[in-house]
Symmetry: C2
Subunit: 161 residues, 2 copies
DNA sequence: TATTGTTATACTCTATAACTATA
DNA sequence: TATAGTTATAGAGTATAACAATA
């Protein structure tokens, strides 16, 4: 358990991370705002999935997911077909045009980071990724399932100090 | 310099951190939305400052800062007095009521983290804080001072294409 | 002329609630 | 009845631009 002042600092860091997020959004093409880009990236990377799964990965409400998906479907980057196993559901799949756009966006964002994080090592970036994944997992698990999940935080096997 | 796939992963982590941010926002009192809370916290912890300094610490445009500050000033949590040294500027200072609210909010957010990050060590949290501060610093420095502005078309927030 | 700060406007992201269709 | 997904609506956060006052 960390000191309270560390938690206060973490709250400030989280609330200030928006600046980085906006830096990332600025390098995206105008036709694909960051919410749509996130949806496209997840469908592109994890493969075909249903709306509910995507909403879970995006960590937003399904109504929000629905809007983002509608945007990318309208532009032909994702294909939304009925699920034969459950006709209430729809299967999302990236299209060739979507793959092309996704590659382009990945190139832009990695270029941005390669430029701005020039002096970070691979380990630095990897560590930050791990900690962020673990943070999100802990906070969202707690929100959903209530109170005692002390041993469920993912991201890496804990080493007892 | 890190591997490109690490950068792609970082982009996804950053875009998903909103879930944590919203978890934080949910524990705040309804009268004080997260933008105002951030402004109050910075003035409360760093002491009196001018609008421009607060905008820098918040990492948002001064117009946005102005709105958040107006909100907290209206509610008597921050006092906004003219700067005798430069009458264009205004000095922000937290009020006793603001201190009280800030203490309450700090208690709520640290309680939330103490509950959800129960198995994180002080070093874990400290390391994440350090990496986040460094990340923000690198990204925002580049935006302002960096050499490559080819993607920063003036007057337009995004690239086309 | 340049800088500090405010206001008007517009856009993105988000959740809640009401709704449709299917299980 | 319950669940998957859509749409309407409302609220928060943000940036740009036009503006006022002062340096």
């Amino acid at each position: 358990m960390a000191d309270r002042s560390q938690y206060e600092e973490l709250a400030r860091q989280i609330s200030a991370i928006g600046a980085v997020k906006r830096g990332l959004a600025r390098v995206l093409p105008a036709q694909c705002p960051s919410g749509s880009a996130a949806a496209l990236a997840l469908v592109g990377r994890y493969g075909e999935m249903r709306m509910s799964r995507l909403a879970e990965l995006l960590a937003v409400d399904m109504s929000v997911t629905s809007r983002h998906v509608a945007h990318v479907v309208d532009r032909g980057w994702i294909e939304r077909s009925p699920d034969p196993d459950d006709r209430r559901s729809r299967i999302l799949r990236i299209t060739p045009a979507g793959e092309e756009l996704l590659d382009d966006m990945a190139r832009r964002t990695t270029d941005m980071f390669a430029r701005t994080l020039k002096d970070w090592t691979d380990e630095d970036v990897g560590l930050l990724n791990t900690l962020l994944a673990r943070l999100r997992d802990c906070v969202t698990e707690k929100e959903v399932h209530g109170y005692d999940h002390t041993n469920r935080c993912a991201g890496r096997p804990r080493q007892d100090t």
